[in-house]
Subunit: 244 residues, 2 copies
């Protein structure tokens, strides 16, 4: 048997948002690797070995997955959302680059509904005009880079999706990000706090950036900051298509 | 019967990338509206009326959909990709804002796999680090805004997804965009031309930005420009997670 590695996105949480392509990959897998809460979304069955691991184990997990595939297993690495957006796909290609022995393995990346798309859909269309996505975790990049990108994104008048805004180990960065955006003149923009979107814990809140507080976000929150033209209609928030 | 309006994303082309949520909405619809090639992706059946329309008819289509829903129909507006990314969702909320009579209609937005996620998955993980998405069509915004955003995106070192890079009615903008990015110092970055991703016409090409030519894109192409650290491993292109 020839092994293969698939890197698959499970979407934001609701099974109705898992693509048939991903469901088929899970159904034919022999081994599933990923951060434990994501692996827990896959039902156990005979012939399937689940390999849950801790957060921040991305590179080790990627190497383990490549090794298993090289041994003939049909391996799926699962990410929440889309595997190519601040998730496992980059880690797998880093591990692939680090060791030439796996270079010829069949690899597939299967896209998923990333959190910002699910969050945007719930509240209307805040990403209907040009936008950017910034990972606020400074585990793998200096804060100065994050701050520079926030300033330039505000100047470009992008809507801004902020992934991983805040966690127990990074309690202060999001507050600094909010201050940076206020300094950059974005204080009147609409901010969307979308927590645990499409799960039973879903909670969505909108405030003006000047009134946003860091405590409104935690590690399950996706934050979207509208552009300067983003507006409300009834319970909805959307970015107009036209800019003058 | 109470009518309802659903704005649904069909993904990039392959039916295996249509979410079960969207498939269910299509199965229970009485009326489907959208740009003709997208409506053509929905199989005809008894009790279903298809309403294909031309491109650039977005606002009229949105009003028609809201009116049909107000008359008690179960209406689905379809977009390719994700309806909230340069697609129909913003147009529907604009139409909703323009006329208060439809303000209480039940509306849902159902996300889909947008082109940049599908394209990124095919080539590796070029959106694995911070990125932005810019619509190159200047039908609804002045070119000066596009150019400013390209310069700032290059300065921020975002990977850049370019939607609608080129069409018969806009043959020259993409060339100007490439020149702007070269001027901004991005000439050595990797560019991915992803045409008709996940369809039988799929074609993916990668070149250095300095060698990119406008003719490499048409209206079915999604262009991704890597950030300054984006690299190749074998046939793959990916953005490393770490920035120093």
């Amino acid at each position: 048997m020839t092994g293969a590695l698939t890197i698959a996105g499970l979407g934001p949480g609701d099974d109705a948002l898992v693509t048939p392509e991903v469901s088929a990959a899970l159904a034919s897998a022999t081994d599933i690797l990923g951060y434990a809460p994501y692996v827990a979304r896959v039902a156990p069955r005979d012939g399937l070995t689940l390999h849950p691991s801790d957060n921040r184990m991305e590179l080790q997990r990627a190497s383990d997955a490549l090794r298993l595939a090289s041994e003939g297993r049909n391996v799926v690495v699962v990410s929440s959302g889309d595997p190519g957006v601040f998730a496992m796909a980059s880690a797998v290609f880093e591990a692939l680059e680090a060791s030439s022995e796996w270079r010829d393995l069949p690899i597939r990346v299967l896209p998923g509904i990333t959190a910002m798309l699910a969050a945007a859909a719930r509240i209307g269309a805040p990403l209907g005009h040009d936008f950017c996505a910034i990972n606020l975790s400074d585990n793998l990049k200096p804060w100065s880079v994050i701050e520079k990108r926030l300033r330039l994104a505000a100047e470009a008048d992008f809507a801004i999706a902020l992934y991983n805004p805040r966690s127990v180990s990074r309690p202060d960065g999001f507050q600094r990000a909010l201050e940076t955006l206020r300094d950059a003149g974005a204080g009147e923009r609409i901010v969307i706090f979308a927590r645990a979107v499409t799960t039973p814990d879903e909670k969505i809140e909108t405030v003006q950036l000047s009134e946003a507080r860091a405590e409104m976000a935690d590690m399950r929150t996706l934050v979207i900051i509208g552009n300067s033209a983003t507006r409300r209609v009834g319970r909805w928030v959307y970015a107009p298509r036209q800019v003058r």
